[in-house]
Symmetry: C2
């Protein structure tokens, strides 16, 4: 069976198991929006990663299922509350919870999802449960810290590359490191293997986020799901915009600032920003930074002893990072 | 040492330990509002209850401290998010987090507090940790359900007494049952004792909430901290207002409805509602309902074997419930 087919199988199993979690549906005012938020979809990358590490480290008896679902719920919790904080109306083409219902429902259903995440996480008790809960909880707090840095950066014009990397490490990479480590823990892998899994997840997350920053403007418009240049129009801090603030001449920075954050900016204005990114080699710098983390992830895979079959992890890595742009 | 002095000692120890949790304070945009929300104060009833059950069941080695702090954090988390949902500006005379800062900060610092609660809860690992995390997590989800019912009731005119009791059982009583059970679990008490502790906490919580409903209008104005009749002016669902909807004649209900929810209602209008409550025996009915749960809590105390000294628990119960009104 090829990787894409197996991926689809994993995803279907996860979606079915997630649906089962919502058999209890009263009070509807709580569980309906929770279910909606979780079912809006997404690629289920995190539970799949959990499963891949679990299998690679010879996990048995499907102990990984509930922890994997818990991580997916944790991710969905962050989306519901982030959408409130960013006042986003749409998520994957659907109305966000606080828009479809109201603010209170957004706050409360996010809280409900994180509560359910813990309930699912501890559904089955086994020897590694303590460590799993610890990794999960540290991840949750780290994501809150990452979101706080992200909010803080909105008001600052002098964010450095290092600060930006730390922020996405907390906000994005942590939520790939957590399922990687938990997959290994569920399989009762040796602690150095759990460490490698965690390290892989972080590198993958950093590479993925910088690629996402690149895709906004350097990607192929036809292939790209989001609106072309929406990060630019929203004035969002990205690895590219941070470099622009640092490298552009005063005159070019003025052009950049006139477009960045102007939600009405027409396509030709957005293209001006792309030209500036190209002129200053920013796209190349960002590609190089993403490449650095891709190499890091690959080095982790290389370091895994041959008694573990890394074939599926390699395919997953390629699938995650080999996006067209 | 008398009970009040011991209570003060417990409270000081808890406040010091809570302050220690905020040694880490970066990013400040996250930890400052978290610290503020936790330090606004409050009576620390929940961790004290945890401590009382722990000591009563012969707990040793101070294993109870972190779980007790975790329950206090859980309580504070609910306050921060409830204040957003109810759009309340003040909490114990201080600005609420989302007013002092902004909405995003309110949402995020609530999330941060619940994350920290879990981090503190699992700080020390011992035999009962699994059960403690389970009780804690079930409590968290139950509180979300209670808050959902509370929100739902705002839009309904036909809430029954039973539904109201279920709502406050979920929203208020659960957060007194959780520390009671956790205190017993930390002391490694037999499971039937944990059950009694949990039952006591629920009865206490129900009695306390109905007394709180009564205090709004039937209490001694001079002794009461909140604005006299504020539940009436806000049109809040209370045990009394639910009985009014059921028992009042159409003419009296019209008077009631003209005052309830009118935030500008002058004192004499509020007093009209009080008169209606008296005329229909509603105050007495509510007192009787509170009394029922007080008796239930006392019956639990009676059922505790004599090898455990219930003296402090009795004093605590009296202190909690013997409020003037």
């Amino acid at each position: 069976m090829d990787f894409k087919t197996r991926l689809e199988q994993y995803r279907n199993r996860i979606n079915l198991a997630l649906a089962d979690l919502f058999e209890k549906n009263s009070p509807a005012i709580l569980y309906e929006p929770m279910k909606y938020a979780v079912n809006i979809g997404g690629k289920r990358v995190r539970p799949i990663l959990c499963e891949i590490f679990y299998r690679m480290f010879h996990g048995k008896e499907r102990k990984v299922l509930y922890p994997a679902l818990a991580v997916e719920l944790l991710h969905n919790f962050t989306l519901v509350h982030d959408d409130i904080m960013d006042d986003d109306d749409l998520r994957r083409g659907n109305q966000t919870v606080h828009i479809k219902w109201d603010l209170s429902t957004g706050v409360l259903s996010g809280d409900g999802i994180v509560s359910l995440a813990y309930k699912v996480l501890i559904k089955e008790d086994f020897a590694e449960s303590g460590s799993i809960i610890r990794v999960f909880t540290n991840g949750l707090l780290e994501v809150c810290e990452g979101q706080a840095y992200d909010k803080e950066f909105e008001t600052r014009d002098d964010v450095s590359e290092d600060e930006y990397i730390k922020m996405i490490d907390n906000k994005t990479a942590a939520l790939l490191a957590v399922p990687s480590a938990i997959g290994a823990l569920c399989a009762d892998a040796p602690s150095d293997m759990v460490g490698l899994a965690e390290k892989y997840g972080r590198a993958l997350g950093l590479a993925f986020q910088i690629q996402d920053d690149l895709l906004d403007i350097a990607g192929d418009e036809a292939l790209f799901g989001k609106t072309y240049g929406s990060d630019v129009a929203e004035g969002k801090k990205t690895y590219l915009s941070i470099l622009a603030k640092k490298l552009l001449s005063p005159a070019d920075l003025e052009i950049f600032n006139s477009v960045s954050g102007n939600s009405d900016a027409p396509r030709e204005e957005i293209l001006k920003v792309k030209e500036l990114y190209e002129k200053y080699g920013i796209i190349e710098l960002a590609e190089r930074e993403a490449e650095k983390y891709i190499r890091e992830a690959e080095a982790v895979i290389q370091a895994i002893p041959v008694c573990y079959d890394t074939g599926e992890l390699k395919e997953f890595t390629e699938w995650m990072l080999n996006r067209k742009y």
